[in-house]
């Protein structure tokens, strides 16, 4: 990949990558760090990375970086730990989007990762498996569980997932 292609990657993928990370980690500062580190790595490896395959490469690097950050900061959200003291109130939300957004926060990390890769980025199961280091079957299960959890939340947001 040459310099021009690298800069093209920045234009094409930085926004999506940032959206993916910030949706999962909910921390703009850390997300910014991860994006910077990811593109730094791409720049250093630009001779090895094929331009046509750069998107999954970027997402994989960013995902691994994000997992490291989550582990470091101990930010892994445990669903069963998450807030009995702050139950979701359906009336607070103006629409389905807000409800979904809130529900997304409550998903376990893996489910949140696969569902955001699927819905935001339109990745196939195979690609998600590659990025997240999961088997195809695991990806399907996580997506299905995530949808069931989101469905349950939408149906009755006061029920904790």
């Amino acid at each position: 990949m040459n310099e021009q292609q690298y800069n093209q990657c920045v234009e094409l993928y930085a926004d999506g990558l940032y959206r993916f990370i910030v949706k999962n980690i909910r921390d703009e500062f850390e997300a910014d760090n991860i994006i910077q580190n990811t593109f730094e790595k791409l720049w250093l490896k630009r001779d090895e990375v094929i331009f046509e395959k750069v998107k999954p490469y970027l997402f994989k690097v960013a995902y691994n970086n994000m997992i490291d950050v989550i582990r470091q900061n101990k930010k892994i959200v445990q669903m069963d730990v998450e807030t009995h003291d702050q139950p979701a109130q359906y009336q607070e939300y103006s629409g389905l989007y807000e409800v979904l957004n809130k529900a997304l926060d409550r998903l376990p990390e893996k489910q949140r990762t696969v569902i955001t890769l699927r819905d935001y980025e339109g990745y196939s199961y195979d690609e998600i498996a590659e990025i997240a280091g999961l088997s195809l079957e695991q990806v399907k299960v996580y997506i299905y569980r995530a949808r069931l959890a989101l469905k349950q939340y939408i149906g009755n947001p006061e029920v904790l997932i």
Partner: protein
């Protein structure tokens, strides 16, 4: 890991658009006969996350260029004698024992000026915090060392107490900085320091500086020009400071800022040289 039933597999596949034509027909027939399945599908369909337009604000800082900067036009023949004379004068100035800029910059000194305090040297100020890689020269020049180049600079900025910059005319003297202690716990928090150059007129790649403690000097290998006049501003312990120094490689100032949205703090850098202006962020990761 959960084993899916055929109905669940078809439901998920239909939802994700992964079914073949025959499978789609089969599943639609199943839904036509099973109202509960139809309801289930409708509910799951609503869980698809709407795509949002998210913009990454620092995109420009990610872009790179390896193209060398265009050289300025060579001086006309008539100016050559003047240039040679200036070079000789500069050479004398460089090798003068009163200056401390003639070696490779190997130390970082974070200093905090006061408005009227006379210049001091590193040796005179014991509470200077320094991060050292090789101990040869003090990176931060004292005011006396920088006044000579300052007088040739057309515009010199100083930092007011309110944080606003003001410009001074050519030849104005710069108020003397006083080296000052920076909170060592803040320095110790900096393990990985990456400098993001957001605006630059020269090709600088982002450089990550690994430090065990404190900061290390910014040593972008692309920069080989020497003798840059550098002005930095920083804010430490709620006190604004300005430092103007003559360095061989750019040095960053330290400016702790707070992100509006998240409330997280980060170190910002502002660096102005005689030729270029930079701005960027100095990020750090806690251990």
């Amino acid at each position: 890991m959960k084993e899916f039933s055929e109905k669940e597999l078809l439901l998920l596949g239909y939802l994700e658009g992964d079914l073949s034509d025959s499978e789609k027909i089969k599943f639609e027939a199943m839904m036509a006969e099973d109202a509960a399945l139809m309801v289930e599908y409708r509910q799951l369909e609503r869980t698809k996350l709407p795509v949002q337009q998210t913009m990454y604000a620092n995109k420009a800082s990610l872009k790179r260029t390896t193209t060398p900067p265009k050289k300025k036009p060579v001086l006309g023949y008539i100016l050559w004698p003047v240039a040679v004379a200036a070079s000789v004068a500069l050479l004398f100035w460089f090798i003068s024992p009163n200056t401390n800029i003639n070696g490779e910059i190997t130390k970082v000194t974070i200093q905090q000026p006061t408005k009227q305090t006379p210049a001091t040297t590193a040796e005179e100020q014991p509470n200077t915090v320094e991060t050292t890689e090789k101990s040869e020269e003090t990176l931060v020049a004292s005011t006396s060392a920088v006044q000579a180049p300052l007088q040739t600079k057309k515009r010199v900025q100083t930092q007011g107490a309110d944080g606003n910059s003001e410009s001074k005319n050519e030849g104005d003297k710069v108020k003397s900085p006083r080296k000052q202690l920076i909170n060592s716990s803040e320095l110790l928090a900096a393990k990985t320091v990456s400098i993001k150059i957001a605006k630059s007129t020269i090709p600088i790649v982002e450089t990550i500086l690994e430090t065990e403690e404190g900061y290390t000097p910014y040593t972008a290998s692309e920069i080989d020009e020497k003798g840059w006049l550098v002005r930095t501003t920083h804010k430490i312990n709620n006190q604004l400071g300005t430092w103007i120094g003559y360095v061989q490689k750019p040095q960053v100032d330290i400016n702790k800022k707070e992100e509006a949205n998240s409330g997280r703090t980060y170190w910002a850098i502002t660096l102005e040289t005689e030729k270029y202006e930079w701005e960027g962020r100095l990020l750090y990761t806690r251990r």
